[in-house]
């Protein structure tokens, strides 16, 4: 009897603590997990679709592991995220240590900015490489106010153009980078040498559109913003799944091809790639997927013509802006059926004056919108109220210049 009372009191006491929900990830009171040690992390987040990272929670710290960040598994990265004020645990001599939540960050890729902005942590960003290319309004405003400094050349993605001294001055807790595994061009090697703390993110390695979007959780770990990340991602997942469910039951699958050639060689995304998966989920028949390779293979333009000459839609035209640019590049594109019928679409609807394309920024976070765009092109009857967001129609219906 008395045991019941004690347990009830404990339960009430416990629930009182749990009830404090300011959601900012800073635990008010310590929790105790099943093994009896402290568990400071109220909200946990685990990757469901993303294959490139994994997380382990150990009460006072998290171990974040990157798997094969650029497709050649010669380096693995481990990040040790320790709650501020806690001791650094032993046994992780290889890992880079960060104290979370971080307060100041520098970003080298606009996708990081989109992710951070989504997590309401834009104020933490002190410097970015290529501010002009950022599409996000809020970030641009912050940059104009001087809260975010330009730390690179503005347009180049090569690490050698970074103003390392300026980054050091900003004293960031972390520098978010992207890498290719090329020691000469990757920024993180040099940043590490300079005593900074680079973190490599590899969302571009994911083929699954949801997997790519899920990397917001990767960033969230550093800010203890797991709950926000979870909520956000659940929403995306729901939207995405809802639409792709609709397309699965369709009989008619329009044929689609993508990309452009240069001097006879067409670099087509493989059947297992990000682009191809989006097409598949949008209910399209990707004409160039004869294998499930992820990579872009250099295909003979004649093969592409043979397979895609009667394809219904040409989606994604590389770096060309419109039909005129396409024709100027190679007048022989006019032979393609999709060109003649004018069904050409490209993801350049949201491009700022400096060429920064939101498709590669917020678009990575919103595969549901991208999918909706595609479905709107291919099966408009399924999403009658949707207006194209990232995509636009670049070929006129009569096959001439738009």
């Amino acid at each position: 009897m008395i045991a019941v009372v004690i347990v009830a009191a404990a339960a009430i006491w416990l629930s009182a603590m749990v009830a404090d929900d300011n959601g900012n990830g800073s635990p008010i009171r310590a929790q105790k997990n099943s093994s009896g040690t402290e568990d400071l992390f109220l909200y946990k987040s685990y990757p469901e679709y993303a294959l490139g990272f994994s997380i382990e929670y150990y009460g006072t710290y998290k171990v974040l592991s990157l798997h094969d960040p650029w497709g050649r598994a010669d380096e693995d990265y481990t990040y040790l995220l320790v709650q501020r004020g806690e001791e650094i645990p032993a046994g992780y001599s290889d890992a880079q240590v960060f104290f979370v939540p971080i307060e100041k960050s520098v970003t080298l890729s606009p996708i990081h900015l989109s992710q951070i902005s989504q997590l309401d942590e834009s104020r933490s960003v002190k410097g970015h490489n290529g501010v002009d290319l950022v599409y996000d309004e809020e970030i641009r405003r912050l940059a104009e106010e001087g809260a975010i400094e330009e730390i690179g050349s503005g347009t180049s993605s090569m690490g050698t153009m970074l103003n390392t001294e300026l980054i050091i001055e900003l004293e960031p807790d972390v520098v978010f980078c992207v890498a290719n595994g090329n020691r000469e061009y990757d920024s993180h090697y040099k940043l590490r040498e300079a005593g900074l703390k680079p973190v490599v993110s590899a969302e571009w390695m994911e083929n699954n559109p949801l997997g790519r979007a899920e990397w917001i959780k990767f960033i969230a770990y550093f800010y203890n913003r797991e709950q926000k990340a979870n909520d956000f991602f659940e929403g995306i997942k729901e939207n995405y799944s809802a639409i792709s469910a609709k397309t699965k039951t369709l009989d008619y699958q329009p044929r689609v091809f993508s990309g452009i050639d240069y001097q006879g060689t067409w670099y087509a995304p493989g059947g297992g790639s990000y682009v191809a998966m989006l097409f598949q989920d949008a209910g399209a028949d990707y004409a160039l997927s004869n294998d499930n390779e992820r990579a872009d293979s250099p295909i003979d333009v004649e093969v592409v013509y043979e397979r895609a000459h009667d394809a219904d839609y040409w989606i994604n035209i590389g770096y060309n802006d419109d039909i005129n640019a396409l024709l100027a590049l190679d007048p022989r594109y006019a032979n393609f059926g999709a060109f003649k019928s004018g069904n050409i679409y490209h993801y350049n609807a949201r491009v700022n004056a400096f060429g920064g394309n939101d498709y590669w920024q917020s678009g990575i976070l919103r595969p549901d919108i991208v999918l909706k765009d595609l479905v709107s092109i291919l099966h408009p009857e399924l999403v009658p109220d949707h207006e194209l967001y990232y995509y636009q129609h670049v070929g006129s219906p009569h096959g001439g210049a738009a």
């Binding site: 993605s157 250099p298 003979d300 093969v303 000459h309 190679d330 060429g355």
Partner: protein
């Protein structure tokens, strides 16, 4: 590639027979280049296409739109590069000279880089667009401008300074400077432009359309004709500048004619096909050895034909018949050319030194 096989030499050594045989091989390879590719068009379909009979529409389109221009381009480009290489090897009396020794392709690459990589930088692309020269045409135009700028520089300097070594060194310096400029431009460019530029450097015969073909053919044919008119002075040059002059050759005129001709042929090919290497170095040696002569009256037509043959062969290989994939052309020409060059160096005293003092 042992050409000690004397039976081979015997056949080709008899010049007329050799030329006719080469023409035959050229024809055969031309046919193969049209038939083979990632999409195979069988012979009977080919005949149908030509006679207007019933044939799969995609095949007909591929044939007319892509295959034929590509095959014709390959023949002429290969011929032009081989001829330019021959001219440069004779003129500089250097067995390792190639068509680009004057810095022609380096100049062209600067032109191309300026258009492809500058975008916001200095807006050369915009200027050309304003002139109505968009996309591919603009790039070819810029490449030719670059090539001729280098030619002008070389002509001006060689008018003042007599020495051939000076011209050689100048060509090398132009290459270095051009490389530096292109590197700087690459530094400031974005990834997709960098990729496009690097694709250009792979070289390709497939980029030429029917509209562009007449200009290409006209300019290159002019180059062939001029080269043929130069056979007598070229033969004299085999003995060296001093002997040639003592035999009554107008060295200055001949020098300028050779350089301009080379620049036109190499510049035009680079402009339309990108910088294609190795054909210019290797084919003249191949011909010299096969036809067993240094007489340009044989070598000029031989290089034209054999240049075309080798170009067609490398094109067929790069399209890897039976697969979907295309390999960069320059990789294949290197695979052919490098062993020939090594062989030339190793045989040195006998065949290679055929053209040096």
């Amino acid at each position: 590639m042992k050409l000690n096989g004397s039976w081979l030499r015997e056949w080709f050594g008899k010049t007329t027979f050799g030329i006719l045989l080469s023409l035959g091989i050229l024809g055969a390879l031309f046919l193969l280049d049209i038939m083979l590719g990632s999409v195979n068009i069988p012979l009977d379909a080919l005949v149908s296409i030509l006679t207007g009979g019933e044939v799969k529409e995609t095949w007909a389109t591929i044939f007319w739109v892509w295959r034929i221009p590509k095959a014709i381009t390959a023949v002429f480009a290969g011929a032009a590069l081989a001829l330019s290489g021959l001219l440069m090897q004779t003129f500089f009396r250097n067995p390792l000279a190639d068509p680009y020794i004057l810095g022609i392709s380096s100049g062209a690459s600067v032109g191309v880089a300026l258009v492809m990589l500058s975008s916001g930088f200095c807006g050369i692309g915009a200027v050309l667009a304003g002139l109505g020269l968009l996309g591919d045409v603009g790039i070819s135009f810029a490449a030719m401008l670059g090539a001729f700028a280098v030619l002008l520089l070389i002509l001006l300097i060689s008018a003042k300074i007599q020495s051939n070594v000076t011209i050689l060194v100048l060509g090398i310096m132009v290459s270095y400077i051009s490389g530096a400029i292109v590197t700087i431009l690459l530094q400031f460019s974005d990834e997709s432009s960098m990729h496009t530029y690097s694709f250009w450097t792979f070289g390709s015969f497939s980029g030429v359309t029917w509209d562009q073909l007449p200009l290409l053919l006209f300019l290159l044919t002019a180059g062939f004709v001029v080269s043929f008119l130069l056979t007598k002075p070229l033969n004299a040059l085999l003995l060296g500048e001093q002997y040639a002059a003592s035999m009554g050759m107008d060295y200055k005129k001949v020098k300028n004619a050779i350089m301009v001709n080379t620049a036109v042929m190499a510049g035009v090919v680079t402009a339309f096909c990108g910088p294609i290497g190795f054909l210019g170095v290797a084919v003249p040696h191949f011909c010299r050895s096969l036809f067993v002569t240094a007489d340009h009256r044989v070598l000029v037509p031989a290089c034209v034909i054999v240049g075309g043959i080798i170009a067609l062969a490398t094109d067929i290989i790069s399209h890897l018949p039976g697969t979907d994939i295309v390999l960069p052309l320059n990789a294949i020409t290197a695979l052919f050319g490098a062993p020939v060059v090594i062989w030339v160096i190793v045989r040195g005293t006998r065949f290679g030194r055929g053209v040096i003092t």
